[in-house]
């Protein structure tokens, strides 16, 4: 090369190297798993400084442990104490850690027309779903079920007077179940945002809330096939969205060929029979969980009314025969991943 061409060549090379250097830096994806709320929690964070992110995830982990203890109705703790006092029907000061759950759950219970109602803890205990490993026993006596159901414990039985509450109905026993998990995810997401983390997913036992994006693309969420292997569908989420699914496969037992699962219909006292799963995509976890639970109870015939009443925008319900029901907006954003797409029934817009 001649002298006159050396300088521009060197400049050009420098420019190319600079560009390449800029391309190669890929932000880290931090990923941590831990057990809490009796389930597997996975926290994923995209980007950020290692020390800061690890410290934040440490804090999230300890927050989950605290919430698990506080909101467990079957072991000594704040909620267990609240439940025993509710049974007395006397006024008492409710623990500040429990009060917000009661308030929010009552709002959602009303919106669901009573289909979502955590006040039926006694029924859950009767069916044996208050334990992690249910012993291999038959379903409870129908008379016992009928008696409890007749007592009609309801969130709306709870009365408020400032910091004090009471229950009109001694049969009320609060077991928030997945709702507490959703609420816990909401609080820990708020915490991550307060720490300057804006691209993350918190997944607790399959129910998740995702904020931000995975770098230059949205977060890709796979929805597990309730009946087969692998995923039934995938969906992209970004901004601030929760994906919650209630199903008949999470806690269940089979007796004489019949499946009994942990989502009890408060009206009948029995687990629901015609729905396999309900998936809701929305903003906060607590609302999505309540909506998915209510939809499970409503079933293929009534889910639309309930979803609309609870203000849902993207819902999907799978019936026991494999039919998938969803609203048009959900159909637009979901991609089926099965070799053969399922039978889909579209509802009117939500």
């Amino acid at each position: 090369m001649t002298r006159s061409t050396l300088r521009p060549a060197a400049l050009g090379l420098a420019l190319v190297l600079l560009l390449l250097a800029g391309c190669s830096r890929e932000p880290t994806l931090y990923d941590r798993k831990f057990l809490a709320f009796g389930t597997l929690v996975e926290v994923s964070v995209y980007g950020g400084q290692r020390k800061q992110v690890e410290a934040a995830i440490d804090a999230v982990e300890s927050q989950f442990r605290y919430m698990q203890k506080t909101w467990n109705p079957w072991h000594p703790g704040a909620l267990a104490r609240v439940d025993s006092l509710l049974g007395t029907t006397d006024w008492f000061s409710v623990a500040p850690s429990v009060r917000p759950l009661i308030v929010r759950a009552t709002e959602l219970s009303k919106a669901s027309g009573g289909l979502f109602d955590p006040a039926v803890g006694q029924l859950i205990k009767l069916w044996g779903f208050n334990q992690d490993a249910r012993p291999d026993v038959p379903p409870p006596d129908p008379k016992a079920i009928a008696d409890l159901t007749a007592q009609n414990p309801r969130m709306t039985d709870i009365q408020f007077d400032g910091i004090r509450v009471r229950s009109r109905n001694p049969a009320v026993y609060l077991d928030f179940g997945g709702f507490a998990k959703g609420y816990g995810i909401d609080r820990t997401i708020d915490f991550l945002k307060s720490q300057g983390i804006h691209n993350a997913i918190i997944n607790a036992g399959g129910d998740l809330r995702a904020i931000g994006r995975h770098g230059d693309r949205p977060w890709r969420i796979g929805i597990r096939n309730p009946r087969g292997e692998g995923m039934i569908a995938s969906v992209d989420v970004q901004g601030d969205e929760s994906v919650f699914t209630s199903g008949d496969y999470e806690r269940f037992f089979i007796y004489k060929g019949v499946r009994y699962h942990h989502i009890i219909d408060p009206r009948t006292g029995y687990p629901t029979r015609d729905t396999t799963s309900a998936t809701v995509i929305g903003t906060d976890g607590a609302t999505c969980d309540a909506t998915a639970t209510a939809m499970m109870v409503a079933g293929p015939k009534d889910w639309y009314r309930v979803a609309k009443a609870m203000g849902a925008h993207y819902v999907m319900l799978m019936g026991n025969d494999g039919t998938v029901y969803m609203n048009p907006a959900m159909a637009k954003r979901i991609h089926f991943e099965t070799k053969k797409p399922p039978k889909v029934v579209l509802s009117p817009p939500l």
Binding site: M1, T5, A9, G12, D216, R217
Partner: protein
């Protein structure tokens, strides 16, 4: 007062650039199976100019082609313009060191192939980086690059044929070279 006198080379460049623009505009009217997949026949002019008149002249022709072409089609400063410009810039950038290769270097087919691939890569980089950063775009890239290889070779052959036919008539009239 300084007068700008146009040299005969200026006229030639202008004429070639006009030819390139004409081909470019005509080709723009043709439908393409995939966005970005075009034979790029105007590049025949660019490469022919590169071989005969060197890189600087070819760069001028390419620049004029992109500018005038976009003004005529009406896509000046539109996304299409930026894609076209980045493709042209990338191919010219690659052609510069290629044209300075020691020894015999590349022929028209080699230059055309290089230019076509650089053009497609440059366009894709801008399309993917600035306009559609969707993973599905990456799925298109192998197809786009294959098309650029095919058209690059075809255009190169056209350039070679063109240059040979331009030389041949002159050789007919020239006196035959003395026997060795």
């Amino acid at each position: 007062m300084k007068t700008i006198t146009a040299t005969s080379e200026d006229y030639l460049v202008a004429w070639l650039a006009a030819l390139a623009v004409t081909i470019h505009v005509a080709e723009a009217a043709l439908p393409s199976p995939l966005p970005g997949v075009k034979p790029g026949l105007a590049n025949v002019i660019t490469i022919a100019v590169l071989v005969r008149f060197g890189w600087r002249t070819a760069a001028w022709v390419a620049l004029l082609r992109v500018l005038a072409g976009s003004l005529l089609i009406g896509t000046f400063l539109s996304p299409t313009f930026f894609l076209s410009a980045s493709g042209a810039a990338a191919s010219m950038l690659v052609l510069w060191p290629a044209s300075r290769l020691p020894g015999r270097g590349f022929g028209p087919v080699g230059y055309s192939l290089l230019a076509a691939m650089a053009h497609m890569a440059g366009q894709f980089a801008v399309a993917y980086g600035a306009f559609i950063p969707h993973p599905a775009m990456l799925h298109l890239l192998p197809v786009l690059m294959t098309a650029s290889v095919v058209f690059g070779v075809v255009n190169g052959i056209i350039v070679r044929t063109l240059l040979n036919s331009l030389r041949a008539p002159a050789a007919e009239h020239a006196p035959s070279p003395p026997a060795p």
